[in-house]
Amino acid sequence: MYRQDQQKKPRLADARKRHFGGAAAFKPIEYPFRLNFYTTPPTAEVTLEEFEQWAIDRLRVLAEIESCLYRNKTPDELKATLNPLLKKYLHIESNSAHSTQLFEQRQKDHYSHFILRLAFARSEELRKRFSKAETILFKHRFDSDDGLERSEFITSLGLDWELVSPDERNQLAKPLLAAAGGKKLDEAYFKVDWERVTDLVQSRQVLLKGGKAYVPSSQYSSLVVAEFTSRLDKALELTARALPRLDEDDRLIPILNHLSHGFAAPEYNPSSDTTILSGAPITAGAIDGLSQHFPACMLHLHRTLRSTKHLKHFGRLQYTLFLKGVGLSVEEALNFWRGAFSNMPADKFNKEYAYNVRHAYGMEGGRKNYRAKSCQQILLEHPPGTGEAHGCPYRHFSIDNLTVLLQKQMGVTDQAVLRGVKQDTEATKYHMACNRVFEYAHAAELKREKEKGQTFTTLTHPNEYMVRSWELKNPEAVGVAAVGGGAGTRRAGDKPVEVDMMGGGEMM
């Protein structure tokens, strides 16, 4: 969308013309399909108000998608959340609806996408998040698209997929069936390099043969979505490179900056203050006492550390960062770990492990200030293997082992709670299970706070769990104002733009 030769042209007064292509005359864009790969940038003029409003509307949708991902919602839940939101802010109907609004709807979708591209191309992290959210939005629309229109849309893309001949299809009938797990062969199969459908390879849903993946027509969506993402990623790179050359008047840049700030991830941000709990520094010796406030994941790590006098790498990392978030200083952290590895000679500890602890505190190497791992990270990164104690017990334990942990270590005796936990974990709602246990363990305190008119949101971070628990059990030590918000509040620095981006995220 940006060409270098634009720079050589005399500067046009209208900034938008420069953004959206250099040449003067454009054919008006038509939107034959509901779905759009966003390959052509918009060319018509819009008012500044439309520019901002459309972008904000789209942003609401994308922010909600992020929030759903963050909360580990299932695809069905995501669909249920998105449908009303899309209808309100970014409604697009299919051709069969014969709506008079088709053009306006599709134009808004098209323009808002490109405006946000400008806003989110600036950093690698923003690009990644934007591309992820847009991909999910695309997939959502693709899946709900009208069958006929969808196949016409796919044809219009002109993708180079090799069709499997009927002979080969019949020859491979048995493995094809086994790979898809179905009972009937699909009408058509495509043969593509397996690298193009990594999600299907990963879940073993396609037949692989000689480096080619045999994708059944029922799995088109995977191919189309992968294509969408890879094209969007490439386009975002290009936009990023063109951004510095976009010498803009001061009308759009502030809006764009505003927009990218509004897209703040709804995450709990542990305070880096070392005296977050009671105002007094936490010492290594205090950890055992504090462990009663720990969520199951950290309690399991703590107990494992105490019983085996050792933790493996990812366990140490998860636990060190958690303790750091709680407010343990690096000196105390070193004392804590040295003491905990009591079977180990001090020089071995200093040589092989102290570095790791200091590194987690950003005092070695890249000096990155690592943040305590969120529930999402713990759930998704590095599933624990043999001999490892990290991860999330609600997800990584079998239900029997989880029940034992809850009963023996966390004192959950109420059968109804245990049954609830079982249902939650079976429905892969691990955070719900954890929150359920939290509510059970703090029932009295929560009731008290509720009577005072305080409300609580769902916990999404082990440190949030711990701090909240400590505050509830020690109300006298906490200033009244701090309750509810807690010592570690959600990121407040990025003030959301006009809309409350986290609005959807806070309810659950």
Binding site: W194, G211, N356, H359, G366, E388, F397, S398
Partner: protein, 512 residues
Amino acid sequence: MSDHSDHDPAEELPDAPPTKPEIQDSSDDESSGSFAAKRGELKSSPPPTDSKKDIKAIFDSDDDFGSDVDLDADMAAITVDAPDVKPDIKPSSSSSNSDPEEMLAFYKRLFPWRTLFQWLNHSPVPTHDFGHREFAFTLQNDVYLRYQSFATFEMLRKDVIRLNPSRFEIGPVYSANPRDRKTLRKAAFKPISKELVFDIDLTDYDDVRTCCDKANICKKCWQFITVAIKIMDVALREDLGFKHIMWIYSGRRGAHAWVCDKRARTMDDQKRRAVAAYLEVVRGNDKSGKRVNLRRPLHPHLSRSLDVLIENFGQEVLRDQDPWRKEEDAERLLELLQDKTLAAELRKQWTSDPGRSSKQKWDDINSTASKTNSNTLNALKLKSAKEDIIFEYLYPRLDAEVSKHLNHLLKSPFVVHPGTGRVCVPIDHENPENFDPLTVPTVRQLLKEIDEWEAAHKEDAPMSEEEKVPDVDKTSLKPYADYFRRFVQGVMKEEMKEVKVKRERGADAMEF
């Protein structure tokens, strides 16, 4: 860290906690007894280059100061991103089986430098594939040097002989020379390619192997690795379409695979993750309950693997490992059957007749099932449960983290394992069952073989330079070195073919 615009070692000094001008002195602040002893040993090894510094060496070592000083910085990536590189070898054992002097002789006389170069360079002429490749050295005093790189194999060889590392690892090819990384913007220094690697380690089998544990291995438990190689090799070739796969004994208790096809080398992390997930079946740990839950019908890769597993299950697991002989161990089997009625019936039977072997117990499942009248039990479900058990006990267990990241370092082939003194030699993928880790030569043995050969040929007429027998040919390392050479020739041939096609196309284009 990375915003140093110019590469001035003096300026970097304050950055690193202990500032040391000499590598040999780096253990100064740790004045424990074992270190003093180790340094004593070091003194007996040839002196560092100081004495013979020419201009070139000064430049070289200058560079090394930089690396040494920010060694801690470099460890960062390793200690956080590469959990497998924990130093798990006790200093005492490292000195017993690989003596620094022997190591030096090994590097000088036996290590296949040229083949290693060709393998990583993909061409006889030095290219960036080799020049921008990261090497990481573990020195005899456990100091770890990352981001080393070399334009040619002579320079690599020279530096290895100078530093005499106890082992070294191979990392990715970067977009620029790793030694220049400090002068570059972050975005300009990125890993761009590396072989797809796999790491299988017997410690991950500790809950199913009964013969040995931890670092120990025997012929019986090595069978797990043999089966793993068979299954992985065929999947990598037939399903994913790779051709150049080399299996390397890791020197103690496992094996590495290096997939060297260009297509594999240029894969990004997402693709690596996909391959790892495609191949991974056994998940979780002892707290996760049933670790294998496969959907039916089995994916073609899994049904093919199951055939191999069944072939080996009777001997390798039931007879050799005998994992369910003890009553408490048999509980695991009963749990995995996922049927309470059947489990109760079997438990009763085994309590009344203790000492039944795993083989007998495995057979009991079917015979008891046919007699038990249970409405929850059906033949199909039981068959699936039994298949899942076979997968759990014998399917390859990957250390998936190693495979998932482009920038992960892995020990180089043909280095010596410091704990065992054994050389990391290739395993023939066509006959993995012929490989016996316990007969892999050690450095000490190889050096003895050279001496013996030379003693036996003392009487021979002195040979000219061309006729001289290379040292490797005097030892039992020869077949392994030959295998490696043949493998590398295959890799190079394919790569050169591509280059040639490109060049021809280029020439055509020029004519117009």
